[in-house]
């Protein structure tokens, strides 16, 4: 049986219990009336039958064998308060895809989703195994869609099913902790972010399994004529800004002053070279099956079919079950695209309205204003590799799609912000070429100081003639999402911000939040999504919103607590979805008013009522989920007590997990011996596909700025992994260790090279202490250089006629007499020779005031310079002044005589004193130094901001810098 046919067979097998469960339910609430389009607010699908219909699935293991060995996954860091007992879990259980496979307690996740219209009901079953002789606690931070309303949690152990209760978060945790101490099996579901939850299970008996079932509902986004059902499977490692401030959770980061719950949102990741045995089984039912067309998934291989009840089934191919990327299922309505629909449904004794409206398709080109497009690019460590290449391609394509009156600016950020230009530049071929060259040099690495990037993009003075559009490209792996969304809201002014999520497992909560706060639209580009289509959609929206100034009213009733509270402007392809409370009667029609282009626009919709006494109404739940989101965004950093209490109230009333309410379930019977040792194990997440482990958790990178110094005040930068909690440096000039200062993602030390320090390369020792107890060591080379390179004149004319040109050929020189002095230099002879040979700039001045800069040319790196001789130059002997500078600013000077107006010019070799002997030694020295140079690793890199070196690298023609005036001002007597 082929893989595909096996998967199809599996679909059939899986589909049967689901269909049976649905068929056994009472008539569904809110069933759409016969005349309603099938794909809009069709009655929400019924929940699958609750436990005990949780058969232990046959879990396909990659491999199994005897002689398991324990592996310490990096950076899985045990909770200091509850140290994990290693030796039992994780275990190496096999090998797949060239990687060792580790078994953690979470063995399997099964996802069953039923989608109707734009609403999905999803059931997630997690199976935790305890293969040890101890009682087990497993903690798993996992993702869900950012708009998921988690409505239920149960667990099953053996034949017993335990139902959860929703409680205030602190109460739920206290209940769980008490059960954990007593040896009672318990489960706790907590929300860390709208798209990040923590599941804890305590006291899994030895050699037994526990099944945790979560149920949630969510709206399925509809954009550009297609629905996109997303199930995220892993959490990207978040960058945590701020200073450490304790540790409340088990993650790899401490809490910080900017992300107070950082230790709860930084679960461990599977180490490089490993994958976890945890796999994913996923089944989506699209119902009714004939309402959907063009069903596809770019993220995964899928198999599809129809079940006996006519629903379209979609399942993951068995060969594509590693939970390392979002599952994205895309489809479009089979019939005409929906335009509008309004539905009222009663839930928990109250009426709620759900409204869906598509904006008109037409756009008036004449209304389009010139734009100032700012591309804000995340180039942090998590973007290293494929994601940053995707961004480059996206921006490059977008640049070529700009209009002639548009301007643009590129800004990149990691731990620091790096604009390509100080301000927006006009859209012309030269500017685009420069931008593309700049883009091509971007590499992923460093932290994610996103706030600084946002500010840089939004605080630059706006061009009043143009509409500013910020295209924000990121994977969203940060812990301070609320602060970033708040900053966009606060700083955006008249600008619009479009969130572009880049990658296989994007933080959609951030991307959506930024776009909402920035009055733009969010889009996610996966690794297999074509960039061109994304650019086309972007420009369709950049042109302008189609509908603005929207207001909603109903006839026959009043609306309150609308979500969104302020109706957004609508772009092409972007529908409006509104949820609201209905008061004071039964609404008969909904009226939406706004502006289309410059003219007024309105739309009146008949309101449909869902049948009363429905078994599974959802409108209220979806409204409550949206309302909670609204409340959370009022003051994300410091929510007011009143708002917190309203969230709690909604959570308790609608049975929802929120930041302040959790589900807790406790088995009443004692199933495990509380005297047994307890092993607490964190379940790691797979690193998202395409994300570089090296880019985030790699060894520290150390830099000294400037690279070569005279005695002065350079800085030492240490880009350490985010697990670093302290960095100390021992400078070669001092005896004591000094503390480096945390500066965003890096650690820095500003220090002084003491005057009189002899030339040479000195090693600074660096000790990095990590939160997991590791100490990492590194060294930084500090090169002290106070001696300037000499210059040899390879050729120069002995005479030049007035009106002619003096051409000089120069080369850095190494006077052999200096070599003995280099032998004892700190850092060795090779480094000393390199320093002696290094040149950054050569300036030549003629006595008539002409000043020229030499350029380096040819395979041998000869510096050439031409100086025109004025036609009226005085004849006679003249002296050219040659001044050479190195990267540290050291200067050497020499003079070359030349006769003006003498006989025919004769090329000569000059100025090296002992030319013949020099030539004899040239080859030997060349070879010796070349070998040394090879050992040293090549040319000296340019310093961070060289004033002139890039011009040299461009090999620009010699430029006469200036007519350098003789000091005709009153002689400055000294």
């Amino acid at each position: 049986m082929t893989s595909r046919s096996a998967a199809q067979a599996r679909i059939r097998a899986l589909a049967i219990p689901v269909v049976l469960a649905i068929a056994s339910l009472p008539p569904r609430a809110g069933a759409a009336p016969p005349d309603a389009p099938d794909h809009v607010f069709r009655s929400p699908p019924a929940e699958p039958s609750p436990a005990p219909a949780l058969p232990p699935l046959p879990i396909p293991r990659v491999a199994a064998g005897n002689g398991y060995r324990a592996v310490d996954p990096y950076p899985a860091i045990p909770d200091p308060g509850r140290p994990a007992q290693s030796g039992a879990i994780p275990r190496l259980v096999g090998r797949a895809d060239g990687k060792d496979v580790l078994a953690f307690p979470l063995a399997h996740t099964r996802v069953s989703a039923r989608v109707a219209g734009n609403v999905a009901r999803v059931e997630v079953m997690q199976r935790y195994d305890n293969p040890s002789d101890r009682r087990l606690e497993a903690i798993y931070a996992f993702p869900l869609p950012e708009n998921a309303a988690v409505v239920d949690m149960t667990f099953q152990i053996g034949s017993r099913v335990v139902q959860s209760e929703v409680r205030r978060r602190e109460e739920a945790r206290a209940t769980y902790e008490a059960a954990r101490r007593e040896g009672r099996t318990a489960a706790l579901t907590e929300q860390e972010r709208p798209n990040l939850f923590t599941q804890s299970v305590a006291n899994v008996p030895p050699h037994e399994s526990i099944f945790v079932v979560l149920r949630y509902v969510h709206e399925v986004p509809f954009l550009d004529g297609r629905y996109r059902f997303v199930f995220p499977t892993t959490i990207g490692p978040r960058y945590i800004p701020g200073a450490p401030a304790g540790r409340a959770g088990p993650g790899w980061s401490p809490d910080t002053d900017q992300v107070p719950d950082a230790s709860r949102v930084t679960p461990p990741v599977v180490p490089p070279g490993y994958r976890s045995a945890h796999d994913l089984e996923l089944l989506v039912q699209l119902t009714p099956g004939d309402a959907f067309a063009d069903v596809s998934a770019r993220s995964h291989r899928i198999v599809t079919g129809l079940d006996g009840a006519g629903a379209r089934l979609v399942a993951l191919d068995e060969q594509d079950r590693v939970p390392d990327k979002d599952f994205v299922l895309s489809y479009r309505p089979a019939g005409r695209e929906p335009e509008a629909r309004a539905l009222v449904e009663r839930e928990r004794g109250e009426d709620f309205l759900l409204l869906f409206v598509q904006p008109p398709a037409e756009v008036q080109p004449a209304m389009i204003r010139p734009r100032e497009v700012v591309f804000l690019v995340d180039k942090s460590g998590s973007m290293m590799g494929r994601p940053i290449e995707t961004v480059k391609a996206l921006v490059a394509r977008a640049l070529h799609a700009l209009g002639p009156d548009d301007t643009f600016q590129l800004i990149a950020f990691d731990g620091a912000t790096e604009p390509q230009t100080a301000a927006a530049q006009p859209n012309d071929p030269a500017a685009i070429a420069r931008a593309e060259a700049w883009l091509s040099r971007l590499r992923g690495g460093g932290g994610t100081e996103m706030l600084a990037g946002i500010r840089a993009a939004l605080r630059t003075p706006a061009d009043p003639r143009r509409l500013r559009m910020v295209v924000f490209c990121t994977d969203g792996y940060i812990g301070n999402e609320a602060a970033v969304i708040e900053a966009v809201q606060r700083e955006r002014g008249d600008a619009r911000v479009f969130g572009f999520g880049i990658g296989s497992s994007v933080n959609r909560y951030l991307i959506e939040g930024v776009a909402r706060a920035g009055r733009g639209v969010a889009e996610v580009i996966g690794p297999r999504d074509p960039v061109d289509e994304a650019v086309a959609r972007l420009f369709l929206r950049l042109d302008r919103p189609v509908l603005t100034d929207l207001q909603l009213t109903v006839e026959g009733a009043q609306l309150s607590d609308l979500s969104p509270a302020l109706l957004p402007d609508l772009f092409a392809g972007q529908p409006l979805v509104v949820a609201a409370r209905v008061r004071g009667g039964a609404p008969t029609a909904a009226v939406l008013r706004g502006r289309l282009g410059g003219a007024g626009w309105s739309r009146r919709l008949a309101v449909t009522s869902a049948p009363q006494h429905a078994a599974s109404p959802l409108a209220g739940t979806l409204w409550a989920r949206r309302r909670i989101d609204e409340l959370q965004h009022l003051a994300p950093g410091a929510p007011a007590k009143q708002e917190v209490e309203e969230v709690v109230s909604l959570g308790l009333r609608f049975n929802l997990v929120t930041p302040y309410t959790s589900f807790v379930a406790v088995e009443r019977e004692l199933l495990v011996d509380p005297r047994l040792a307890l092993a607490t194990v964190l379940v790691p997440n797979e690193l998202p596909e395409g994300v570089s482990h090296e880019g985030i958790f790699g060894p520290a990178r150390v830099q000294v700025f400037p690279a070569r110094v005279k005695p002065g005040d350079p800085e030492l930068w240490i880009a350490a992994a985010p697990t670093a909690r302290g960095v100390k440096v021992k400078l070669p000039f001092e005896d004591a260790w000094r503390d480096a200062t945390r500066d965003g993602e890096r650690w820095v030390l500003r220090f002084l090279v003491p005057p009189g320090q002899p030339d040479g390369s000195y090693a600074a020792e660096i000790a990095i202490a990590h939160f997991d107890g590791r100490e990492e060591r590194a060294t930084a080379s500090i090169r002290v250089d106070t001696s300037a390179a000499a210059v040899a004149v390879l050729s120069a004319p002995s005479s030049v006629e007035p009106g002619g040109t003096i051409a000089l050929r120069l080369k850095p020189a190494l006077p052999l007499g200096r070599i003995p002095g280099l032998l004892g230099r700190p850092g060795g002879l090779a480094n000393a020779l390199k320093g002696e040979m290094e040149l950054k700039e050569i300036l030549v001045r003629a006595p008539w005031g002409a000043l020229a800069r030499a350029r380096m040319e040819g395979a041998l790196g000869v510096w050439t310079v031409e100086l025109p001789v004025p036609a009226d130059a005085a004849t006679g002997d003249a002296t050219l002044e040659i001044v050479a500078s190195d990267a540290a600013g050291n200067v050497s000077r020499r003079r070359v005589p030349v006769a003006i107006g003498a006989a025919a010019p004769v090329e000569r070799l000059s100025g090296i004193g002992g030319i013949v002997a020099g030539i004899v030694l040239l080859g030997a020295a060349l070879l010796a130094m070349a070998l040394l140079f090879v050992k040293m690793g090549g040319p000296v890199p340019a310093p961070p901001c060289p004033p002139l070196a890039p011009a040299l690298r461009r090999r620009a023609p010699t430029r006469v810098l200036d007519r350098f005036p003789q000091p005709r001002e009153p002689g400055l007597k000294v």
């Binding site: 912000t417 600084a452 007499g817 009153p970």
Partner: protein, 359 residues
């Protein structure tokens, strides 16, 4: 004979090897130097001027902080002390406080008061404070080394060029016409109609419009060509001098820059006097003060084409890393964290001093 043969053999091998290397790895060979037998670089002329001791000054310690003092400003009874790596300490008669700076913002380079606020130039941007509260940050992430005021315009020199600081804490980059790529600015000075910019590759002179805007292209003036030339191009500090400027350098002493671009370097005899600390210059009336690495405070008086250099006796052994005008005299910050107030008898530029100021 055997030596000669060996030499020839070695030569053949070497030339062959070298040629092979050229073909194989030209990029590296490009950076090799030519071995030569004798030194070709000119030796620096020995000697130099010696500052005239200036007796009669009094030195009072006003404050002491941890680490090197890099910037000072006194206003409204408060003394702002910028430090090398420990932020800004504000000393008032009521006590001390620290400004809210973090990370590389604690690496302070410059201070300037503007419209009731205090700008702090740091290695990570210019941070604006008002009434002790942090208001905004301009040029975030970029080292801000210096400030200068041109009319109503407040300018900041940064590692990525020049910016104009705007009310409310925003900033706007100013393109330096004729300077590609944008140079790192080490120091700034405004002299009548010219903005002087100190870089590591000499000085730039930019004409200023009456409103303080830039009115023309930047002109580069290397310090290493002049009468006499300086031995370095690295400008560490600047002070206005008529339409020209006086530049302090990293190890080349003081350099006078004429309005038309003439260069005249003043090299001092003791090496310690030639290292002017970053930003440690101040134009105050007829004096320009320069804080040196180890040679104390230099007071320069200029009259037409002559200038004289004095050194208050009491500072002779100090490393002066910051200078400012205080309420009662000159303020000097030292590399060991002291803030000193210097009070000297009014040092009018007398004919005698101009004749004998520098020996």
């Amino acid at each position: 004979m055997r030596l000669a043969l060996a030499l020839l053999g070695a030569l053949g091998l070497a030339m062959g090897g070298g040629a092979a290397l050229v073909v194989a790895d030209g990029e590296r060979v490009r950076h090799l130097a030519v071995p030569i037998l004798s030194e070709v670089a000119e030796r620096d002329a020995s000697g130099g001027a010696t500052p005239v001791p200036l007796p009669g000054c009094a030195l009072v310690e006003r404050a002491r902080v941890d680490g090197r003092v890099t910037a000072l400003h006194e206003a409204g009874g408060a003394l702002f002390i910028g430090t090398f790596d420990a932020g800004v300490v504000v000393a008032t008669p009521d006590g001390r406080s620290a400004l809210d700076l973090e990370g590389r913002e604690r690496f302070v380079n410059a201070l300037v008061e503007d419209g009731g606020g205090m700008w702090v130039g740091t290695q990570r941007g210019a941070v604006l404070f008002r009434d002790g509260r942090r208001i905004a940050i301009a040029a975030p992430g970029v080292a801000v080394t210096s400030f200068a005021r041109a009319g109503d315009t407040l300018l900041a020199g940064t590692a990525r060029g020049l910016v104009r600081l705007l009310p409310g804490g925003r900033s706007e980059p100013l393109a330096l016409e004729g300077e590609e790529p944008t140079p790192r600015v080490n120091a700034l000075a405004v002299a009548r109609s010219t903005l002087w910019i100190g870089t590591s590759a000499g000085a730039l002179a930019v004409p200023l419009a009456p409103d303080g805007g830039l009115a023309g292209p930047a002109r580069r003036i290397p310090l290493v060509f002049g009468a006499p030339p300086a031995r370095t191009n690295v400008v560490t500090a600047l002070a206005p001098l008529g339409d020209g400027a006086l530049a302090g350098t990293d190890d080349g002493g003081l350099v006078r820059l004429g309005p038309a671009g003439a260069v005249a370097a003043l090299r001092l005899a003791a090496a310690r006097d030639n290292d002017v600390n970053p930003g440690a210059m101040l134009a105050d009336g007829e004096h320009v003060l320069a804080g040196t690495q180890r040679g104390g405070l230099l007071a320069v008086e200029v009259e037409r084409e002559a200038f004289a250099v004095f050194r208050p006796d009491v500072t002779a052994s100090l490393a002066i890393s910051a200078v400012a005008r205080g309420t009662h005299g000159w303020l000097a910050g030292t590399s060991d964290g002291r803030v000193l107030e210097l009070q000297c008898p009014h040092a009018a530029a007398s004919e005698r001093r101009l004749r004998t100021g520098v020996r």
